[in-house]
């Protein structure tokens, strides 16, 4: 324990760098998967059959081991953060797509019918009714995706993407327990902190529709 603390003290700068790297990688991937996920989730609400198919495919992707997914992109994108980001995007798409879809489709149809019948345009209905009402559920999906992304990001070191996973992989190779622990610990701290912060935001979205 004491040696762990000492290790952290010694490697402060490197830990910070790796954490920043990790966050940047996850953030990039999530920015893309959130935007695409919301768009896909919204569009598939207009067709039940397409929705079923899309959610099924996203679910299939999640059953692929993450390591295999990262490796799959190496021939196309080379080594480094790029295959990792591509893998993370695919992996985190499901909770976002699914929650956006569920969030919108579980809105009381009477509310949307009333909006349409009173003469609100489709754009107004989306903006003023669908988005705010779907927000708590959709945001919960995004939160899951972000936390998942941070965890998975640790594995991305395997494709030389950097991040906190580097400590874990190098630690295992060199038999350095402290290094492994630092990688695991800081990944967890990052995930839990972000999760808690997002929980606060989620409470706000819930309050809006209550």
């Amino acid at each position: 324990m004491a040696s762990l603390i000492e290790f952290i003290g010694r490697q402060q700068d490197l830990i910070l760098t790796r954490t920043a790297e990790h966050a940047a990688m996850v953030l990039t991937a999530l920015a893309i998967s959130i935007v695409t996920g919301i768009i896909i989730g919204y569009l598939i609400t207009y067709n039940k059959h397409v929705a079923k198919a899309v959610i099924y495919v996203c679910g299939m992707i999640m059953t692929i081991p993450s390591l295999a997914l990262f490796v799959f992109f190496i021939p196309i994108l080379g080594l480094g953060p790029r295959p990792a980001i591509a893998g993370l995007i695919l992996y985190t798409l499901l909770p976002i797509v699914r929650n956006v879809y569920v969030g919108i489709t579980s809105i009381d149809p009477a509310v949307i019918m009333a909006a349409r019948g009173m003469g609100m345009t489709e754009a107004a209905i989306t903006l003023k009714v669908k988005i705010p009402l779907a927000l708590p559920v959709a945001f919960a999906g995004i939160r899951t995706a972000v936390v998942m992304g941070i965890g998975l990001g640790a594995i991305a070191a395997f494709v030389a993407a950097g991040g906190l996973g580097v400590f874990i992989f190098q630690g295992i190779q060199r038999g350095n327990t402290n290094m492994v622990l630092v990688g695991a610990l800081f990944t967890t701290v990052l995930a839990v902190t972000v999760d808690k912060l997002m929980q606060l935001v989620q409470r706000q979205t819930e309050k809006m529709v209550e």
Binding site: A114, G119, L133
Partner: protein
């Protein structure tokens, strides 16, 4: 004015039309009630008028214009719509819910705010208490009022109301129906009102359109429907207590009571003469007694005067009870209820200023229904 010409509807993927050859004309300022069993196509018919559901045959005219030539949003913004499930926006306050259409129409802020206040007053919801509340804090009845207020907010000339009071218990429903009739007398909208309840149809409608399996089976005034049902279906729908239903078609002020009313001091001699010369002519003989300002005092049940009976007038009068006072705009149905619940021989027909304009007896009720039937 709304006109449906040979309108039909086949839902996609279905062979059979849900609505077939529907012809209907709704006059401006009138409430036309679409009534029929659940599933007969009332909601479908209503939604075709504001293009929420496209019709697949025939032509629909709103104010003389074929709706297929009107932009859907524009059409809908000028037609108030109360949907069966109310459909308030759960994330909006009551105020913002009511302001929906004025906001869509880009009214100025102050105008919207003033209108919201006016609407809440109209449907008797206290502004200070409810304006900032969310729909889930309101009772079913209050939500339905908000639904009506929201539909009325932009002052559309036409209203579509799909079972607007359906979710209410009978007492609240009767109250909100009365209120709405009162409101409509003032605002004179052209209203298509859907219900599956024939009693509500009779009460609310200037005209009633009876639908059966997507077809119009009878169109006419409530009086027509009750007195001359065209076929067995309408007869069954109307039910066997048609006489009772007809009571609810006539207001108290519309009848001519048979019993006389006298002022206790001003017409004292006449009262004494009536008592002394009494001959039984009606089965419920009474005379009404009022003070010189025409406020009700009571009534005197009449019977053969016995010689030597010196009972003073004041002692013969049965004092009026509160339950006997009935508004002249109430229906004979209400009068009947009052007669029974007071166990008295008459009720006092009152103006809203508290003036008694006559007394109504059971005999008058029978006579009114006989004449009107």
């Amino acid at each position: 004015m709304i006109r449906l010409e040979n309108v039909s509807k086949i839902y996609p993927g279905q062979g059979e039309p849900i609505i077939e050859g529907l012809n209907l004309e709704i006059q401006s300022g009138e409430i036309c009630v679409l009534v029929g069993e659940s599933g007969c196509g009332k909601t479908t018919t209503m939604r075709m008028i504001n293009k929420v559901i496209p019709h697949t045959g025939g032509t629909i005219y709103v104010d003389g214009k074929d709706i297929s030539t009107i932009n859907a949003t524009e059409l809908r913004l000028n037609i108030g719509y109360v949907i069966q499930e109310i459909g308030l926006f759960p994330h909006y306050t009551i105020e913002k819910n009511i302001a929906t259409v004025p906001n869509e129409k880009k009214w100025a802020k102050e105008r919207v705010a003033a209108r919201v206040k006016e609407m809440m007053e109209l449907v008797e919801l206290d502004y200070d208490t409810y304006a900032k509340k969310k729909p889930r804090h309101l009772s079913g009845g209050q939500r339905q009022r908000v639904g009506v207020a929201r539909a009325l907010a932009a002052d559309p000339p036409i209203m579509l109301m799909d079972e607007p009071f359906g979710a209410l218990d009978p007492i609240t429903r009767a109250h909100i129906q009365d209120e709405f009739i009162r409101i409509q007398a003032r605002i004179k909208k052209t209203i298509v009102f859907v219900t599956h309840d024939i009693d509500e149809a009779v009460k609310m409608g200037d005209k009633i359109a009876v639908m059966h399996h997507g077809k119009l089976v009878q169109f006419g005034t409530p009086q027509d429907i009750l007195t001359r049902p065209t076929d067995e279906f309408v007869e069954n729908l109307v039910g066997h207590n048609r006489i009772l239903k007809r009571f609810s078609l006539v207001e108290c002020r519309a009848i001519k009571p048979s019993a006389a009313v006298f002022k206790i001091t001003g017409e004292r001699d006449e009262i004494i003469r009536r008592i002394e010369s009494f001959e039984r002519t009606s089965s419920f003989p009474v005379i009404g007694i009022i003070d010189d300002d025409c406020r009700p005092i009571g009534y005197i049940p009449m019977f053969k005067y016995e010689a030597g009976d010196e009972t003073p007038i004041e002692n013969r009068v049965k004092k009026v009870k509160a339950v006997q006072l009935i508004d002249e705009r109430a229906t004979l149905f209400d009068a009947l209820g009052r007669l029974f619940s007071s166990s008295e021989r008459c009720v006092f027909r009152m103006t809203k200023d508290g003036i008694c304009t006559g007394i109504i007896t059971m005999g008058d009720l029978f006579e009114a229904v006989r004449v009107n039937g």
